[in-house]
């Protein structure tokens, strides 16, 4: 019970980041748009065929980071799990919209299966049709698993909208299709190093 409410409370922060980000966003009309990535209640279509570049695959990847490290390349919409010997397991992801993008090094601080969702008041105001609380499950926008990133409001999580993989719609969190996030969840322990890289600004 406590664990579930903590999950909900933490996710509130993630959503709060959306609202804060929207207020700071350069384009004023942006806040009027619905979050296309959030469609609570919709059950993920497991048969959805991802574009080949976003399917899980082993790729060549040279790095000085040790095996087991996660490297997220926002611009590419790829998450790499370093395997060593010049290769990595690559997953397709959906990333934060412009204005919600950040860069840095964190560790996975917690893992959760089928996390609950509590949209914050700011988000309810913007999208009044959203539920006040949503228990974890197949219709939950957070999907099958969540990996918490340090003490931040950001997560690597699943989704009920596999068609948003490869796009920039989230609040700064990183979303994978449920099968992929479940696969990644089994491969990485709490404490895993996560490096987030962004395209440089002009």
């Amino acid at each position: 019970m406590r664990s579930a409410s903590t999950t909900a409370w933490l996710y509130r922060f993630c959503q709060f980041a959306i609202a804060a980000g929207l207020m700071l966003s350069a384009s004023p009309g942006f806040a009027q748009q619905p979050d296309v990535g959030d469609q609570p209640g919709l059950v993920a279509d497991d048969s959805y065929e991802l574009d080949p570049q976003f399917k899980k695959q082993v790729v060549l990847y040279r790095t000085t980071e040790p095996p087991g490290t996660i490297i997220i390349s926002s611009a590419e919409r790829h998450l790499y799990l370093i395997q060593g010997n010049g290769r990595a397991l690559r997953y397709g992801i959906g990333v934060g919209r412009d204005g919600f993008q950040w860069q840095g090094l964190l560790n996975i601080s917690k893992k959760a299966e089928w996390p609950d969702w509590t949209p914050p008041p700011e988000m309810i105001q913007r999208q009044p049709y959203l539920p006040r609380f949503m228990a974890g499950g197949p219709g939950n926008p957070l999907g099958a698993r969540a990996l918490y990133l340090g003490a931040t409001v950001y997560r690597i999580h699943g989704t009920n909208r596999p068609d948003t993989i490869g796009t920039a719609v989230s609040s700064g969190c990183f979303r994978l299709v449920n099968a992929d996030v479940a696969d990644l969840y089994e491969r990485v322990p709490v404490g895993t190093k996560v490096i987030v890289r962004q395209k440089p600004g002009l």
Binding site: D51, V58, V59, L60, T63, R87, L202
Partner: protein, 346 residues
């Protein structure tokens, strides 16, 4: 009288020798490619007659491809117009001789840079545009994720090629056994793999992606990430025309640097207003980097505006925006998992 005659003869001989020397110099040292190109009003670019993703004409004679775009980039740098170019399709045997005899200004034709090629034809490969190399295609049912898991496999390969030699070396070095199925024609290699006569097909990685499209069920084969040989593809120019070589070399490096700096054909106007020093040097709002290679200040901005940065050109022609769908792999930037690296513009 005799003395005068002798003097005249000497002068005449000296004169003739000077002309001969000049002719030899002209023959061996060509330092005027940029001048000739500007006078002509177009770049003469030697390309492959038809290689999907790299250089191929459509039915209206419009050329597209990775190698084609590189030549367009050079034309954009010089003329601010990527259309001021003529493509000259060349076969593998004639390509270096055509460049040597000045029938073309640049050869951009999936040519591997090697020491013997550079030295025996008096040519120069200014920089690597595409790191290719030998790889393996396997059926998904094998569940192999690495070339080191191919022990005991039946491998289809083209006969009498360096590919065949590399294959043997790789398996021997890694203490693996394999059964080699050799064919003289690449078509037959593909057919044999498709019919199930072998589990693995080996060729250069760029080729494997094109060959996979010809399979009955392309979705059931994977190209492994391993690259076991070095096939650095590069544009080619004549030796001893340093000015021209600099233009070709820095055009490529500008495209790679632009990708690293986040400058694209879509945001080039924004980049021209940037206050970041490295962006300013590249787009020409600071320094005189165009002038030093005989071009205007905005040479690199022209390249990015008309053709795009390295990543854009890659993805459009051979990457995710193309039928081939070749992952960046070695050709990803050095800072993002690959080895593509350009010296800085400063």
């Amino acid at each position: 009288m005799l003395r005068t005659f002798r003097g005249g003869l000497l002068i005449g001989l000296a004169f003739a020798a000077a002309i001969a020397a000049a002719a030899i110099t002209y023959e061996r040292y060509d330092t005027k490619t940029l001048k000739r190109t500007i006078r002509r009003g177009e770049v003469l670019c030697g390309v492959n007659q038809g290689l999907p993703g790299f250089s191929i004409p459509d039915d209206k004679g419009n050329w597209t491809g990775f190698d084609v775009d590189f030549c367009r980039a050079v034309a954009a740098a010089i003329f601010d117009d990527p259309k001021k170019i003529r493509f000259i399709p060349l076969d593998a045997n004639e390509r270096f001789k055509e460049l040597q005899s000045r029938k073309i200004d640049i050869l951009s034709r999936n040519s591997t840079w090697s020491m013997s090629r550079e030295t025996s034809y008096d040519l120069y490969f200014p920089a690597v545009s595409y790191y290719d190399g030998q790889g393996f295609m396997v059926r998904d049912s094998r569940k192999s994720e690495s070339a080191l898991e191919l022990d005991g496999a039946k491998v289809c390969v083209q006969n009498n090629t360096t590919t065949q030699l590399n294959l043997g070396d790789y398996f021997k070095t890694n203490n693996m056994k394999f059964e080699e199925k050799r064919f003289d024609k690449l078509d037959d290699v593909v057919k044999a793999y498709d019919s199930g006569d072998c589990d693995v097909l080996t060729a250069d990685v760029s080729q494997l992606y094109a060959l996979r499209l010809r399979l009955a069920k392309p979705g059931q084969s994977t190209i492994l990430p391993d690259v076991i040989s070095k096939e650095p593809l590069a544009p080619v120019v004549r030796q001893r025309d340093d000015d021209w070589m600099m233009i070709v070399k820095w055009t490529l490096y500008a495209m790679i640097n632009a990708e690293e700096l986040g400058i694209t054909s879509a945001n080039i106007d924004e980049a021209l207003k940037s206050k970041k020093p490295d962006v300013m040097r590249l787009v020409g709002t600071e320094g005189a980097y165009g002038e030093v290679i005989g071009l205007p200040k905005d040479w690199a901005a022209r390249v990015i505006r008309h053709v795009g940065n390295y990543g854009e050109v890659y993805e459009r022609n051979v990457g995710q925006g193309s039928k081939l769908g070749i992952p960046r792999g070695l050709n990803q930037l050095w800072s993002a998992g690959g080895i593509q690296y350009a010296p800085p513009i400063r």
